[in-house]
Amino acid sequence: MTAVAPTAKDFKSDQEIRWCPGCGDYAILKQMQKVMADLKAERHNTVFVSGIGCSSRFPYYMNTYGFHTIHGRGPAVATGLKVARPELDVWLITGDGDGLSIGAGHLVHTMRRNVDINILLFNNRIYGLTKGQYSPTSEVGKKTKSTPMGSLDTPINPLQVALASEAAFVGRCIDVDGKHQQEMLKRAAAFRGTAFLEIYQDCNVYNHMAWEYATDRKIKAENIVVIEHGQPLIFGAERNKGIHLDGLKPRIVELGNGVGVDDLLVHDETDATLAYLLTQLRYPDFPEPVGVFHAVERPCYEKAVAEQIAAAREKKGEGDLKALIHGGDTWIVE
């Protein structure tokens, strides 16, 4: 245990970081180490689990416990760990390929079970580690090494997958927006249940500028809208635009000329339908929301497992091995 308050440095492992210079992963790692220190997290009680991919190297760089598993299977490993050891803080690091392609099934089931872990999905819309094939979040027509004539598959929207999987906490943030990211990481850390956070991450080698519209200082204010519970959706460099709901259709409106803040859509984290609607706001037609889309606590899986064990013990008493193996009809041979 750290006697004095931990600093971000305490969470840096002794391992040399092997991401490409300029990779968005660095920014996320830095924010995580800062957040861990701010939260006074205990290194020994924290575990980072990951699958395979550039992002999945993350656990090696955190001076906590860590498990770099196999492609797509991080959620299952994390689930087993959490069920075995509910008191640990378990974080899962995954990417768009790891989490939404090869491991999509595990991601879905972990979220619907509501295992109390935090899932960070680094979305760079490309396969980085395998050197540049299109990913499940790549836009249609993406030209890559494996799709010289452009990709054909419609991309998956990670947040919609999360909502469809009954995820209790669904959020989005951006690698280079450090302050907001810290806030989101802290929200996720505080949440009891599966917290799913999509992080826009720049792969500056194979898909540089994929998120330019959301990160370039000159234009990002027009292209993202920060959502907050109970607050109207306002955006724009001048903060003069908002999202108005016309029936179930969102529209961009300009404030003024008889349009006031009261006419704008007000965010409500507890409303899953609204959360889904917000996931449909996509660039370039709309500014893309960042923040917590949805957060409603419900019973956690590992807790329920423990409760059933307690209930069984209450009802049948602590298991008696002798009684167990003598169960059923027995007879004595003399």
Partner: protein
């Protein structure tokens, strides 16, 4: 039960009975009851349930036939019997698919009510076997079982459908009379099982008694058979199936090592019963997890093992194939993990309810890279208990995944099991790392002990924070390393560790002659027929020994000497020679093989015939 004139009783050493009917006829239940009664009566018993993979194949068809075979004896037995002495055929389909196994002159009880034109057609009989001389070689008893049952249960006022469902108890009653068995065990069971449905309890009781009385009073049966008690070792016994014993063994291992049991599994025949059993043992702090697929099942167990649980996953061949990459992760990260493979006939979906031993290569060799792990195979239903404990001990003490091989036959068949003394079971000592083992810096998660095993340092332990993963890792520090010599060194270290398991397993004793003409080797479920055949041969003065290999990896350290003690070696397995290839390759030995890949166990006669041929120099 008073009989008009007591019928004569003929004494026999053992008998094999098979109940066969439609899968809706309750044959498994009748068989299980007969087994319990015989075991409690004091016979040694071995059973072979045989049911279709389809939940409800169309009634009356060959695909829908369900059977249950019981071999009961006044001697020590290891197999459910090669041939059937008495066959109960509840319909034409059951007759058709089982008749070939009935011995000549055997008892054939037929429910004639079901031999209608339509049923004969469904069973693909081109004539009515009750007419003509199809059955002339057998002692045929044509009994209107359905009608008699309906008649017997009339007082309960049950509807026709429910009333006719009691016919399995009528048939059971008849066979109970035939083999002079008491009714009380089954009567007690009926009362308990149907305590909330008195009319059903009443009806089944009436049917059972009516069947018994019919045997006793009808002119039809002229003789009763008596199979006297066996002289089994003293102790308390129960019947147990392999899957039950395996589940209890896992619970026992968790207790002996003082940690929670985590079982991650995905439903698959014939392994699902282990999941079912364990999920009812929650008061033992058993945490069962029905995963979304086979891969998640094994991965969740790996996570639980990392966290310090006794972690296990169970499946059958197709599921094991899916788990292999993750098992490799377990080998690479050197975490304790039990993988249970209840083998079934393959490849692909194969025959889900039928046993084979065709996964040996898969579990030994079926992963990418050089990826050795210990493999142990259970030899009988009751032996699954001890096997689970042994495997758990090795997994945790050597920090390695361990495969437990069972098969569809062991899983579902039952035998009287001498219940072990719980207090006499050896504790599984585990010492977790609690202190930094490196005075010069960070904790070394891959520093090895005398067994070649690394420390099991659990998350939550201050000062031992470390990272593990599937990438090649540096000796001692566990840091990612692509150094070629280190990579090779680690491969040797892991293999050496697995080889060391042989020290804790010890030599494997040879049964029968310690040296001589022929050594017969078995593994897993082939133990029963091989042991029986060799015991008979030894009794007959033949120069034969039996080596049963429990551990398939590592093999016993004294195996070379054992093999050298015999002129010839015969390896019996329910595959096309998987162990045979390994033994031939490793020991440069011209071992012969007896192979059977039919989804059913060897008969004793098949083993004996081959042994004799080899002894006589004809094979």
């Amino acid at each position: 039960m008073p009989a008009a004139t007591p019928k004569p009783t003929e004494s026999v050493t053992s008998a094999t009975v098979r109940f066969a009917g439609d899968s809706g006829d309750g044959m498994q239940l009748a068989g299980t009851q007969f087994t319990h009664t015989s075991a409690i009566f004091g016979n040694d018993v071995s059973t072979l349930p045989d049911f279709p993979a389809e939940i409800r194949a169309p009634a009356g068809t060959l695909a829908g036939v369900s059977g249950f075979q019981i071999n009961f004896s006044s001697r020590d037995i290891h197999t459910p019997g090669d041939r059937v002495d008495a066959l109960i055929a509840m319909n034409p389909a059951a007759l058709k698919s089982n008749l070939a196994d009935l011995v000549e002159g055997g008892i054939l009880i037929i429910n004639v009510d079901e031999f209608t034109e339509a049923n004969l057609k469904r069973a693909k009989w081109d004539h009515n076997p009750l007419e003509g001389d199809t059955l002339h070689a057998y002692r045929v008893y044509e009994v209107p079982i359905t009608r008699h049952t309906m008649e017997a249960v009339k007082p309960t006022g049950l509807g026709a459908k429910e009333a006719s469902r009691c016919k399995n108890f009528y048939a059971l009653g008849m066979v109970f009379w035939l083999y002079d068995r008491p009714l009380d065990t089954t009567l007690g069971w009926i009362d308990k099982k149907f305590s909330r449905r008195e009319e059903i309890a009443e009806a089944n009781t009436l049917a059972l008694r009516a069947g018994y009385s019919f045997g006793d009073t009808a002119e039809m049966f002229s003789v009763q058979y008596a199979v006297t008690r066996a002289t089994l070792p003293a102790g308390t016994y129960r019947n147990v199936t392999g899957n039950q014993a395996l589940a209890m063994g896992l619970v026992a291992a968790a207790r002996l090592s003082d940690r929670p049991l985590f079982y991650g599994s995905y439903p698959i025949t014939p392994a699902s019963d282990i999941l079912h059993e364990l999920s009812s043992y929650k008061h033992f702090d058993v945490r069962t997890f029905q995963a979304e697929d086979e891969i998640a099942a094994v991965c969740s167990a790996i996570g639980a093992g990392f966290g310090g649980a006794l972690a296990a996953t169970g499946s059958s061949g197709p599921g094991i194939a899916l788990k292999q990459e993750a098992i490799g992760l377990g080998v690479m990260t050197e975490l304790p993990l039990l993988i249970i493979d209840v083998q079934r006939a393959g490849p692909s979906t194969g025959m889900p309810t039928k046993p084979e031993q065709t996964d040996l290569w898969q579990v030994l060799l079926g992963r990418n890279g050089e990826c050795p792990l210990p493999v142990v195979a259970a030899q009988s239903p009751g032996d699954c208990f001890r096997t689970a404990i042994e495997a758990a001990r090795v997994a945790m003490q050597y920090m390695t995944p361990v495969v437990i091989l069972s098969d569809g036959f062991l899983a579902n068949s039952s035998e009287p099991w001498k219940i072990p003394d719980v207090d006499g079971l050896e504790k599984i000592e585990i010492r977790h790392a609690v202190e930094n083992n490196n005075p010069d810096g960070n904790f070394l998660p891959y520093l090895r002990n005398e067994r070649g095993s690394r420390p099991w340092a659990l998350p939550g332990t201050p000062g031992l924070e470390h990272r593990i993963g599937g990438l090649s890792k540096d000796d001692r520090t566990g840091n990612v390393s692509y150094d070629p010599l280190n990579h090779e060194k680690m491969i040797h270290l892991r293999a050496g560790k697995v080889a060391n398991v042989a020290d804790s397993v010890g030599p494997q004793p040879v049964f029968g002659e310690p040296h001589g003409k022929l050594l017969v080797i078995s593994w897993g479920g082939t133990y029963g027929p091989v042991r029986t055949a060799v015991a008979d041969a030894v009794d007959a003065g033949k120069s034969v020994g039996h080596l049963h290999l429990r551990w398939l990896n590592p093999l016993p350290s004294d195996l070379t000497e054992v093999l050298d003690s015999f002129e010839r070696v015969l390896i019996c397995e329910m595959n096309s020679g998987q162990l045979q290839l390994l033994i031939r390759g490793r020991y440069c030995l011209d071992a012969a093989g007896l192979h059977k890949v039919q989804g059913r166990p060897f008969t004793v006669a098949e083993v004996a015939e081959r042994m004799d041929a080899m002894l006589e120099g004809q094979a």
